[in-house]
């Protein structure tokens, strides 16, 4: 509560401190509520990120008299996750129909698959989901918000570049040991993948 008051009072560091605390507190709550029924691990970071960000942007919307901050944020994130799950099930229905007509596609997009190669394939396949004229404009607006590094990653992926060294070079990571380069490149790719998924969900 003291941090919430500090946030309302204009503290410079309260947003960051609250974000850290909420991440560690809300995640177990959501996993407990949803994990047994749904595969949400890949949806959790983005949904929680949005919910925490909304709270930080509009802290006066939270009324402490109605309940704790953790349940408040958890409820918001839970709603986003459930909406995303619904959109995913609609999208998967469409893709199954699409896959049946494409001989060359033999790997389904499944973000829960931890195989790196499949995820890379999946990220590559982002370019294959169709956008109409209205969606393209929104898609490009979304892309404009990516950082310079994120755009480089997308560019490399859409050009089917596989070599970690190419990503490391683009991201300024070549001074790191090779193993660490690989880890850092994967982090960047995962981050971009999550953002692209959110865009896809928003466009759906």
């Amino acid at each position: 509560m003291a941090l919430h008051q500090a946030l309302l009072g204009g503290s410079r560091v309260a947003p960051a401190k609250l974000a850290e605390r909420l991440l560690s507190s809300v995640v177990p709550v959501l996993r407990k509520q949803l994990l047994s029924s749904y595969d949400i691990e890949d949806l959790l970071p983005a949904a929680l990120g949005e919910s925490i960000a909304n709270y930080l942007k509009y802290p006066d919307r939270y009324d402490p008299s109605l309940g704790g901050l953790v349940p408040y944020v958890a409820m918001d994130a839970r709603g986003d996750i459930l909406n995303a799950l619904k959109r995913r099930s609609r999208w998967r229905s469409k893709e199954v129909a699409s896959l049946e007509n494409r001989d060359t596609l033999d790997v389904a997009f499944d973000p829960s698959d931890r195989n790196v190669n499949v995820e890379e394939e999946a990220l590559d396949r982002v370019e294959l989901f169709e956008v109409n004229a209205e969606q393209r404009e929104r898609f490009e607006e979304e892309l404009a918000r990516f950082t310079h590094e994120e755009r480089r990653v997308i560019e490399l992926v859409t050009n089917n570049v596989r070599a970690t060294s190419a990503y490391a070079d683009a991201l300024g990571l070549t001074h790191l040991p090779v193993d660490q380069q690989r880890r850092e490149v994967k982090k960047w790719k995962d981050r971009v993948k999550r953002r692209m998924e959110r865009i896809r969900d928003r466009l759906a």
Partner: protein, 375 residues
């Protein structure tokens, strides 16, 4: 069962993109990356920094100190980096094309992007404090400036640190500074900026200002006391010729700031309000056009004189200079001038020529100048 990894702050940071209430949205993408690299931050402290609110101008020292303590970096290093990042961000915000078609921007075409206050201090300009200067204004401004600085900075009269803590300005020292080098520096830091079209000449200092932020480029080949005086001179220009007119415009009508910053063209109402308030609405330009002797127009000479007077006042506060003048004991006026010059040069780290100029004025004020036999 494999434990899921702890979530990172990354998605929270991503979701705040574009929101200027947080450092992540306050700076552009390129500036954020530059800030992270400059401070040598790993992912986690970088994310925590981006989630902080940007420091406020009125409490910059306290805010930066709080943020620095939180992410565990040196507060002065953070302050310097934030100032430069903020200037780079401001520089990347181009004026709207229709705004700069306005005749108010006439004369700006020499600069690309056409929106920077440009001032160059040269040897000639620094040594010639010509023209009439509102001494009371200059002294009051210098007093106010130091009064707003952190105590330890004020006690040392540490100008370089004070600029970082007290002004939305960054200071860069370059070897063998010329106008062309400054143009290249600008082009390197502002994508799309092609600098300005000017004859190349050396400069002791250059001031660039845009949308409330400034950068002073200093020639690193100067002696330390000369470099500090040059910095003080540019600070004078920034406060007197850029921030003060800007403040008057904001006080008259905050909406006029959008015109000044090139966000929109001036409407008839804007022009009328500015005229009624006696304000010049166009962006402020100050190019030093030189004649064969290195001189400029009377208007610019006057501004230069005022900035030089401010610089001297900032580095050697009048009250203290007067106290020192009252204490000299030489038997002749010439000896007293020499003694006071040395005192001022040592006490305030002034170049001898500046200390001599200050000594002359201070001694004149303290004792009325040389007597009949001393002239």
């Amino acid at each position: 069962m494999i434990a899921s990894p702890s979530p990172s702050l990354g998605p929270v940071v991503d979701a705040l993109s574009g929101d200027a209430d947080f450092i992540h949205g306050w700076l552009g993408a390129d500036e954020r990356s530059w800030l992270t690299r400059t401070l040598g931050l790993e992912d986690d402290p970088s994310a925590r920094l981006r989630l902080c609110r940007p420091p406020r101008e009125g409490s910059f020292f306290a805010d930066v100190s709080e943020i620095a303590s939180y992410i565990q970096v040196d507060s002065y290093a953070l302050a310097v980096a934030l100032r430069e990042a903020a200037f780079r961000s401001a520089l990347s915000q181009r004026p709207e094309p229709e705004a700069i078609q306005d005749p108010l921007w006439k004369g700006a075409a020499r600069v690309s992007p056409p929106h920077l206050l440009l001032e160059a201090a040269s040897d000639y300009q620094m040594t010639t404090a010509g023209g009439s200067t509102d001494v009371a204004l200059v002294r009051q401004l210098a007093r106010t400036y130091w009064a707003g600085c952190p105590e330890e900075v004020r006690a040392r009269l540490d100008l370089r640190a004070s600029v970082t803590w007290c002004l939305p300005m960054t200071v860069v020292t370059l070897p063998h500074l010329t106008t062309r080098l400054a143009s290249q520096w600008l082009h390197h830091r502002a994508p799309g900026a092609s600098g300005w079209d000017t004859d190349e000449y050396p400069a002791r200092g250059l001031l660039l200002a845009w949308r409330g932020h400034g950068v002073v480029l200093l020639d690193g080949n100067q002696r330390t006391e000369e470099l500090v005086l040059t910095l003080a001179h540019e600070v004078g220009h920034f406060l007197l010729d850029y921030m003060e007119p800007r403040r008057r415009i904001v006080d008259a009508d905050p909406e006029l700031l959008d015109v000044l910053d090139g966000l929109r063209p001036a409407s008839k109402r804007d022009r009328a309000r500015a005229a009624l308030a006696g304000l010049a609405l166009g962006p402020h330009f100050h190019f030093l056009s030189r004649d064969s002797l290195g001189g400029s127009t009377p208007g610019i000479e006057s501004l230069e004189g005022r900035a030089s007077a401010f610089a001297i006042e900032l580095l050697s506060p009048w009250e203290e200079a007067l106290q020192l003048a009252a204490a000299v004991e030489g038997s002749s006026y010439t000896e007293r001038i020499k003694e006071l010059t040395t005192l001022l040069a040592v006490r305030f780290d002034l170049p001898l020529w500046a200390a001599h100029a200050r000594a002359t004025v201070a001694l004149m004020s303290a004792e009325g100048g040389p007597n009949f036999f001393e002239r």
